[in-house]
């Protein structure tokens, strides 16, 4: 069944709006982080716990995955079924690697005794970065479902729409991450 163009329009628009609400959600977390970042309560500050090269690697992984997700969309539009699968798998692996590294970072910080219970700074750090990570995890599940579908059947108009929405979501997470990288990590490690 072909979806009429108006349908596509309203769904994309609705998804845009959803992304805006997510943007406000992140803005609230960023604002809280900005207020609380100096409140280390005798615990470590960002300078003490951040490993910039490690985070930079994460960043590269995520940015690359954003590129590959775009390629997947282009391939889907061109109806090159195999390529869609390839690029989507690449995106999935890069995203999973990013998430894995983030979890490594978290467990490392916690194992050094700097858990989120220690100070307001650490609470807001884990929450802000963790919320982004949770979004990435949702994105991975989403990709998994799409790959499952694409392997089973041809890409329908609905699937194309889903892929479009997914790339919007993924790019959005990329932008949020750039803010996290700059505000949380770079300012944190350098100040």
């Amino acid at each position: 069944m072909k979806t009429p163009p108006a349908q596509l329009d309203k769904t994309t628009f609705g998804f845009w709006l959803y992304l805006m609400t997510d943007c406000v959600l992140f803005a609230s977390l960023f604002a809280t982080f900005a207020v609380l970042r100096a409140n280390t309560a005798g615990g470590p500050s960002g300078k003490d716990i951040f490993d910039l090269p490690f985070v930079l690697t994460e960043t590269v992984l995520l940015l690359t995955s954003s590129f590959t997700s775009g390629m997947a969309l282009l391939a889907a539009r061109a109806k090159v079924h195999k390529q869609v699968f390839f690029w989507l798998s690449a995106t999935f692996l890069l995203g999973a690697a990013f998430l894995f590294m983030e979890m490594r970072e978290f467990t490392h910080i916690v194992s050094e005794g700097h858990g989120w219970r220690m100070s307001a700074f650490l609470s807001s750090f884990f929450t802000l970065v963790g919320t982004h990570g949770a979004h990435i995890a949702v994105g991975l599940i989403w990709m998994f479902v799409m790959m499952f579908r694409f392997s089973a059947s041809k890409i329908s108009a609905n699937d194309l729409r889903r892929l479009t929405l997914f790339t919007m979501f993924w790019h959005f997470l990329d932008i949020v991450w750039i803010f996290i990288f700059t505000i949380v990590y770079m300012f944190g490690a350098l100040s």
Partner: protein
């Protein structure tokens, strides 16, 4: 296995037990009735799985009215306590219980009564007024409703199992943190409004898209009915403000459940941040509720004055101004926190500025009546009473917008009187007007006018009796939320008068219940056969009452504002060309997602880890199942539509 949940959670004092018994009896009688009438299948097929906004709207209103009754009984308990708990008498409620009662009252009234009535009316009317057949995302809409309903269930569950917070309806930290509120009450508060709030957020997105994308051909923005405009403003606010609430509640929940330090008094936490964030949502929330009420009044006044709405363009600009300004006034809720004079003065002035567009709307309504033919039906009476009471609240509001004055009345009963003045006089009267006005459209028969008038008089008089004394009490130094006070202060008499006022309001509610019963019994007498009982102006009146599942058989382009009115004036006979109509299939997935969310909330509150995991997996599974389902619509053929339409015309 059950986390923190032990048998102790079920132990309560006698007064709570009375509440529990009445709740259980209420639930049992509903269940019994369903068995007796053999309506379980009907309930499942027609209501629980429905994705029709008209039915969802009705369900919103039913839940909201049930919550209204519960929360009014809380109000009555509070006033009774304050009328007798003087000097050596400590009343019939302990301090802790009294504080739980007002927390529950405020939370329910805002999140479950006002929001429920609002989304109910929006669901029922917005698609009709824009001449559409459905909302943008019917399934999402059903999910939103069930999230709201399950939030209400969770809040009521706190009465049965555990407790509700004793912190006031916005649960300011550090009081709401574990250090000072170790029980599960605040957790119940957090999760019930978190679940309902996410539902509201999704509804906001849904209706924003519906209004912007699904309007009938020819209906430009400046041809939309004023109710639609005000809902548009309100939904913009929902979309921007509710994520802040979600984030704030989540952070408080993390503090409480994982020992974080966002808002704790120590370890670097900052309670003031919470107060800023919660009001960055909370103030827009006030306008989220009042804008649709303004929209209802615009429709009611124009219809019952038989005249076009005066100053349409200015009304639109007033809404837009209110939407923007409502984000730069939040600090007026806490001038007393001690921000500098410049900051306080800025927010004070902004608060006054927002009075200008609001005032414009009042004047425009008055001029809509001017040189009209005003019919004093109940919706119109609610409007008149709204103008008279809302103005008093407005004056109090302007007073409190001056920081130096606010220092003297903040957190006193003066403040309580002010916001009840705005919310009862504005929001509640508005929604009552809307319910009466659109009732025939929804159910096919009008409400009894006589009992409606009785209810109106009781509400209006009771309102004055209940809240004018509070203004005075506030000036006498009576702060809000007192479960006990000294006899020497001389407050008791006024509290008793206020209590009498609440009783008069309760009589009004009694008349409303009677009104509903009598109207149902006399429905044949008051049946609306034309679909246009009030000689209406907008598109919802151009289709049959009750509205068919597809809303409109044909979608003729809109040529002007009050399009239905001018069609009637020109006596156009529309050429009818029936077409196939796509209609979304019913699905239980939305309901099941919300039930999973309820379980999730319950599991977090009681720290039942396995249930948490199960609930999350259920939600993921259900969402996946839904997204993989391509078969979500069925087609009503042109033939079937024609058959339904002609049958309707005969009946």
């Amino acid at each position: 296995m059950l986390g923190k949940l032990t048998l102790d959670a079920f132990k309560h004092g006698p007064i709570v037990t009375v509440g529990q018994i009445s709740m259980v009896l209420g639930a049992l009688s509903v269940v019994g009735l369903l068995f007796y009438l053999k309506r379980w299948k009907w309930l499942w097929r027609e209501w629980i799985t429905t994705v029709d906004p008209k039915k969802i709207g009705v369900m919103y209103i039913v839940v909201a009215l049930v919550m209204l009754l519960r929360s009014l009984s809380d109000a009555a308990m509070m006033r009774a306590q304050q009328a007798i708990s003087v000097g050596s008498n400590h009343g019939f409620l302990s301090s802790d219980h009294f504080q739980q009662v007002f927390t529950a009252h405020g939370t329910m009234m805002i999140f479950f009564v006002a929001m429920g009535l609002m989304f109910g009316l929006i669901n029922l009317i917005v698609p009709l007024q824009i001449g559409a057949r459905d909302v943008a995302f019917p399934f999402l809409n059903a999910t939103s409703f069930w999230l709201y309903a399950m939030g209400a269930v969770l809040l009521n569950l706190s009465l049965m199992v555990g407790e509700i917070g004793a912190t006031g309806w916005l649960a300011y930290p550090p009081l709401s943190e574990l250090a000072y509120s170790p029980g599960v009450g605040v957790d119940y508060w957090i999760w019930s409004i978190q679940i309902a709030g996410i539902g509201s957020l999704l509804s906001g997105v849904n209706f924003l898209v519906t209004i912007l994308k699904l309007r009938r051909a020819g209906m430009t923005l400046m041809k939309m009915p004023m109710f639609v405009w005000s809902v548009l403003g309100s939904m913009v606010l929902v979309v921007v403000a509710f994520p802040i609430l979600t984030a704030t509640l989540a952070m408080l929940a993390l503090d409480r459940s994982l020992g974080m330090h966002f808002f704790t008094a120590n370890a670097g936490g900052n309670p003031m941040m919470y107060i800023n964030l919660i009001w960055a949502w909370g103030h827009p929330e006030v306008y989220i509720l009042i804008l649709p009420a303004f929209g209802i009044f615009s429709e009611v006044v124009a219809t019952f004055s038989k005249k076009r709405l005066f100053g349409y363009a200015y009304m639109v600009w007033a809404i837009i101004a209110i939407v923007f300004l409502s984000f730069v006034v939040w600090l007026h809720h806490f001038f007393t926190m001690g921000a500098g004079a410049n900051v306080n003065a800025f927010f004070g002035i902004m608060t006054m500025v927002i009075a200008v567009p609001t005032g414009i709307k009042v004047f425009n309504w008055i001029f809509t009546m001017y040189r009209g033919r005003v019919q004093f039906t109940t919706p119109m009476l609610w409007f008149l009473s709204f103008v008279l009471t809302f103005t008093i609240g407005g004056v109090a509001g302007v007073l409190m917008a001056v920081p130096a004055i606010d220092f003297q009345v903040h957190n006193s009963l003066f403040l309580v009187a002010h916001f009840h003045n705005m919310i009862i006089g504005g929001v509640v009267f508005g929604y009552f007007a809307g319910l009466t006005y659109w009732f025939p459209k929804i159910f096919g028969f009008k409400l009894n006018e006589r009992f409606g008038r009785y209810a109106f008089w009781c509400w209006s008089v009771g309102f004055l009796l209940a809240f004018i004394p509070l203004y005075i009490l506030g000036m006498m130094g009576a702060t809000r939320r007192l479960d006990h006070y000294d006899a020497s202060l001389g407050w008791q008499g006024l509290f008793i008068v206020a209590g009498v006022g609440v009783m008069v309001i309760l009589a009004g509610v009694g008349f409303q219940v009677l009104q509903l019963i009598v109207s149902i019994m006399q429905r044949d007498k008051n049946r609306d056969k034309t679909g246009d009982p009030w000689d209406g102006r907008t598109l919802e009146w151009s289709t049959a009452s009750p509205v068919p599942v597809y809303n409109f058989a044909t979608l003729d382009p809109v040529t002007e504002r009050d399009v239905f009115w001018s069609q009637k004036q020109q006596k156009q006979a529309a050429k009818i060309q029936y077409e196939d109509i796509h209609i979304p299939r019913n699905t239980p997935i939305g309901f099941l997602i919300a039930v999973s969310a309820l379980l999730f909330g319950f599991a977090v509150i009681w720290e039942i880890v396995w249930l948490n995991v199960v609930a999350v997996l259920c939600i993921i599974g259900l969402v996946m199942y839904r997204t993989l389902d391509d078969n979500t619509e069925y087609v009503l053929t042109a033939q079937e539509v024609k058959a339904l339409e002609t049958k309707g015309a005969k009946a």
